[in-house]
């Protein structure tokens, strides 16, 4: 069951420790500063743009791994790799294993969950690229230009929040029912 625990651990590290409690918090503080007079002091805004914002690029890889591996790592069919279910005959496994998997997909609406998470990650990837492009075209230079991108930043933050909620809704353990 090591791999299963690995997925659960990596989900907690990505979603709880990083996305929800670090990245989104930093993003929300940035947005709050951007909307208020504090933004006359560009230093704190630039700090976010230089240190926090770019972390998505490498975290995106982890997000894709979690979503792409979920079905394989967390399906109750993993239980057939260890005693006592590995004692079932091959003839039984032929239908029981896919049956257990199909029932699990059905119960937790796994295909919809995974598709939603994929669309959100793709949306964040696209948003990140677009924002990065605008920043490299001079947007980073002034608070005025950053403010002009406010809607785009808000959309980006909404997608991050949605992704965190979506990953939070994935079953937390190997569910047998």
């Amino acid at each position: 069951m090591t791999m299963v625990i690995d997925w659960q651990r990596r989900r907690a590290e990505f979603n709880h420790d990083w996305l929800k409690n670090r990245y989104i918090n930093a993003l929300m503080s940035f947005l709050a500063r951007l909307r208020t007079e504090d933004s006359n002091n560009p230093q704190s805004l630039h700090e976010f743009l230089e240190k926090d914002f770019p972390v998505w690029q490498r975290s995106s890889v982890e997000a894709w791994w979690l979503v792409n591996q979920f079905e394989q790592e967390m399906s109750p069919t993993r239980l057939f790799d260890a005693p006592p279910l590995n004692e079932c005959s091959e003839k039984v496994k032929e239908w029981l294993v896919p049956m257990v998997h199909c029932l699990w997909l059905q119960r937790y609406d796994v295909p919809r969950l995974v598709a939603t998470a994929r669309a959100l990650i793709q949306g964040i990837d696209d948003g990140y690229e677009s924002l990065s492009k605008s920043l490299s075209n001079g947007g980073e230079g002034s608070v005025f230009k950053l403010r002009a991108m406010l809607q785009e930043w808000e959309r980006y933050a909404d997608l991050c929040l949605e992704l965190s909620r979506c990953i939070g809704a994935f079953p937390r353990k190997v569910e047998v029912a």
Binding site: N25, A82, M99, A177
Partner: protein, 291 residues
Amino acid sequence: MVNVRVFDHNTKKRPQDDPFGKLIVELLRIGKDLGAGISITPITHGNDTDAVDDLSSHEIAIAHIFPHDFKVLADKSKTGSVCVRVSSEGLAGKRSYKTTNGVNCLYLLPSHTSLNEGDWLPLLKAIIDQATVERIVNGQVPPELRRYFMATSGENLAALSILCQGYLVAFASSQKLKEEDYARGPIKDALNKMGGWQFLKDESNKIMLQKAADGYKDAPGGVLHEGWWTIFPGSISEAVSNEIISLGVAENEVKRIVALISKIQESPVIQDPELVACAYLELSEQRNRLF
């Protein structure tokens, strides 16, 4: 007097979610129930760094904080003190330990938002008892605390539940049952719970359903054959009862489950889907309580 200090870093960030409130209210109430020997005080002000400083000066700290802050807490705390980390996400895969400077670091594995008074009472009693804490950090977790501090998958309970599901799908597909055939009863409830009715309706499962239907027979590999239930080391009731006893299930509950499983065991060739459906529903309820 044992002083327990509690902190949740979400207090200021997301008070609307109020996980801190839930945790503190539970702990304060239970602290009173435990009597005069324990004093529980929450930290309701300051930032995470201030809170870690405050927590580290107490004998027992229960904290919902980040991993790096918990490490700082463990480093700063005094020898013999107890630091408990809780998380709204749960702490799957973490193992409690003792630091080189003798601080006991406990990881509470289930999400703290899933715990209620019935969980916190034994937990607090354990956390304030030095001998129990020693056992936990040494990996000798008392049975009644295993579900909180030891990763366990309950594979025998899960396996029996899966065998029941296989039996019921084989039965339903061999009889070409439809949900409308049942107004109520354990078979309808069981198939509902496991997602079976939808599964039986889905055209894309046709080949698998045919194989399952073929499995409804008294021959090797079939669900009516005694071999269906004999994958466990020893008897089923022994395997399952040992497992649930080790997870701290109360004696009367264990007896009830064993009595139910014994019915399966006593009739190796079970031609009674209702009995299997009842067993499945009972096991499912038990699993929900334990995991």
